[in-house]
């Protein structure tokens, strides 16, 4: 083998591009779709509550909530697992989406509140006469939908532009995002800001003029959340399989090399960062009508860290992993905080240690290892 013969070859390399999902993958996807859109509604709404097959309202509410968290975990995975940028401020974007939705829901209460005023109760309580300018579009549902995307997107876009342009990386970036969400929390805690202070928004009555606390509405929100999760999964799959996704991984592995290949990392990082924030915002907007409350504690630093934990437990850099991680950690949390509340924090701590020590690639890594071993034998 010498290098002198090398320019002769012109064999076409075979096209190795893979479809988005394998046949089995699509089958699994269709099953998940069926489960969310048909099976869960049927088991919850159509079966009598005495039947063993009946799915309780509590379970539906819980799974609906966890699916919102799973969207956040997926968003975190895109930015952390693929682009290598650890954000400890994703709770902020989640809360911003939630607040936009909450403002709309507050306006939907109309004059049915405690004080029977057109203004939200907390404003009457503060003796305010008019709505602050921030509430201008809150009575329009289409505007609310737009703002759910635009507000987190704009905040993330502006912050990301300056952070990435200044080449802030690694732990510095993480700390700044943490400070950002903490500062926002302090801001939202204040009554003067006009977002309900430490109580936030609650006591919602209607959405689009329909009562919010009915089984049918609860199921509608559940199905919408499920569809959003599945849709975002496909979007994330498509993004990460494209050349764009490979550039992101190159940013993670060797950013300076990438720059010398003629890429400017800024637009790539900014795009995935903003998209990730928007995903969290949408998850927050779906979360608020399901749990019926939004307050500044959602911007707590610990909440943002938890999002990173779900992604790490599930497996960074895989897409199904973080979704599974969100389900596992939150499922364990709701089970343990009910059955053994004093052990929950110990469990969480043990989980951190176990994942860092034994499962550096999370659940997905474990699954792949077991699967590979099975195929060998």
């Amino acid at each position: 083998m010498t290098t002198s013969t090398t320019f002769a070859s012109s064999t076409l390399l075979p096209d190795t591009r893979q479809p988005l999902l394998s046949r089995r993958g699509w089958l699994g996807f269709a099953l998940a779709l069926l489960l969310i859109c048909a099976l869960v509604p049927a088991l919850n709404l159509l079966t009598p509550s005495s039947s063993p097959l009946h799915l309780s309202d509590y379970a539906v509410a819980l799974v609906g909530k966890i699916m919102c968290y799973a969207i956040c975990a997926l968003a975190m995975d895109l930015i952390w697992g693929f682009a290598g940028i650890l954000s400890l401020g994703h709770g902020l974007f989640f809360a911003l989406g939630g607040y936009v939705m909450g403002m709309y829901l507050m306006r939907q209460i109309g004059s049915d509140g405690q004080y029977q005023s057109a203004l939200p109760d907390f404003m009457v309580f503060l003796d305010w006469k008019t709505l602050p300018w921030t509430w201008t579009f809150s009575d329009s549902f289409p505007a609310t939908l737009a703002l759910i995307v635009l507000v987190p997107g704009a905040v993330a876009g502006v912050f990301g532009y300056f952070a990435f342009r200044s080449r802030i990386k690694g732990v510095y970036f993480s700390i700044i995002t943490q400070a950002l969400t903490y500062a926002a929390m302090l801001l939202f805690f204040r009554n003067e800001t006009g977002f309900g202070g430490n109580n936030g928004f609650t006591d919602f009555k209607r959405i689009l003029g329909l009562a919010i606390a009915t089984p049918a509405m609860r199921m509608t929100l559940f199905v919408l959340t499920g569809l959003a999760l599945l849709g975002f999964y496909l979007l994330a799959l498509w993004l990460t399989r494209s050349k764009f996704g490979r550039v992101l991984q190159a940013v993670r592995d060797a950013e300076s090399r990438l720059m010398f290949c003629g890429y400017s990392p800024l637009p790539y990082k900014l795009t995935i960062w903003t998209l990730s924030a928007v995903m969290c915002g949408i998850a927050g907007a779906l979360y608020v009508p399901q749990v019926g409350i939004i307050n500044p504690s959602e911007m707590n630093v610990a909440n943002s860290i938890e999002i990173a934990v779900w992604a790490a437990v599930g497996g960074r850099g895989t897409l199904l992993g973080p979704i599974a991680g969100a389900f596992l950690v939150n499922g364990a949390k709701s089970w343990l905080t009910v059955s053994a509340p004093e052990f929950w924090l110990y469990f969480l701590g043990a989980l951190f240690i176990a994942v860092t020590l034994f499962l550096p690639q999370g659940l997905a890594g474990l699954f792949n290892k077991v699967f590979a071993r099975k195929q060998e034998s």
């Binding site: 090398t6 494209s242 991984q249 300076s256």
Partner: protein
């Protein structure tokens, strides 16, 4: 000027000619015989890279001291020098990573490199290989090369990106050249050290670079790998301009026609390896030790 050269010049001029309306408003661009498109590499003066009186200091330490260097197109220039001579800093300046305190750096006769960012310089065809092999470890060999293919860069372009048959041929060609065809689906992180070095060279070659900067390309390679690398460089000579910084004298002797010795941030001697090795000052600072 031969007729076909004149023909080519005319075509370039027509391509660049502004619309008639603009011309009538009295623009003052002079009609020199040499047609030059802004941004393109002008090699008509027989040099592709030109450094003059470049100085850099870090916290008072003069890393580069009045360094002047001249590289002709198609040349394979080796740069040697003791540790701390400023070899890597010189590469940093050329690629835009470090800004000099004073001096000039020109790519061709017209492009002032000091006015451009790293990414811009890279996209002009001035590519650099780092001392430590840096490849995208999670991606396969094929994907590593694919990312470096020249072509439009940008988020939108990359989202819808698909390889053309021509690009596949080019990838196959480079894979063959760096002898990694068999390994193309392996993650780059699993390659041996020498293979990573070749992959990185391949990643530069696939960008059709005008000028290649290679920082210790054979460091850590086995003798056999070094020999193959030397062969590779000799095939590249003439097609590409190469600047190689290397410590391995056997390797330098194998590939070099012209050697520059750097010492304390400036050029100490220049010439063939034999000439340089005979130079007393060089022996004193470097070879004799």
């Amino acid at each position: 000027m031969t007729p076909d050269l004149m023909e080519q010049g005319l075509q370039r001029l027509q391509k660049k000619a502004p619309p008639a309306a603009e011309q009538s408003s009295g623009d003052r661009s002079a009609g020199y015989s040499r047609v030059h498109e802004p941004g393109s590499l002008d090699l008509s003066h027989g040099r592709i890279l030109y450094l003059e009186e470049v100085c850099v200091s870090f916290d008072g330490f003069r890393a580069i001291n009045k360094l002047s260097l001249d590289i002709a197109p198609g040349e394979l220039r080796c740069i040697i020098g003791p540790n701390g001579a400023g070899k890597t800093t010189m590469m940093d300046i050329i690629t835009g990573k470090t800004r000099p305190d004073s001096g000039q750096v020109f790519f061709g006769s017209t492009i002032d490199l000091l006015r451009h960012s790293e990414a811009e310089i890279a996209s002009m065809g001035l590519c650099r290989k780092f001392q430590k092999p840096t490849v995208f470890e999670a991606l396969s060999v094929f994907e590593n090369l694919e990312l470096c293919l020249s072509g439009p860069r940008g988020v939108a372009a990359d989202l819808w990106h698909r390889l053309s048959g021509q690009q596949r041929d080019r990838l196959a060609e480079v894979l063959e050249l760096i002898q990694l065809s068999e390994e193309r689906h392996r993650p780059a992180g699993l390659l041996s050290h020498g293979q990573k070095q070749w992959l990185e060279i391949g990643m530069l070659l696939i960008q059709d670079p005008k000028l290649l900067l290679l920082d210790e390309p054979v460091a850590g390679m086995t003798d056999q790998e070094t020999e193959r690398t030397a062969e590779l460089f000799l095939t590249l000579k003439g097609k590409h301009t190469l600047i190689v910084v290397e410590h391995d004298m056997g390797f330098v002797g194998r590939i070099a026609e012209k050697v520059t010795v750097l010492c304390e941030g400036s050029v100490l001697a220049e010439g063939s390896l034999a000439q340089v090795q005979a130079d007393e000052r060089v022996i004193e600072v470097y070879l004799g030790r």
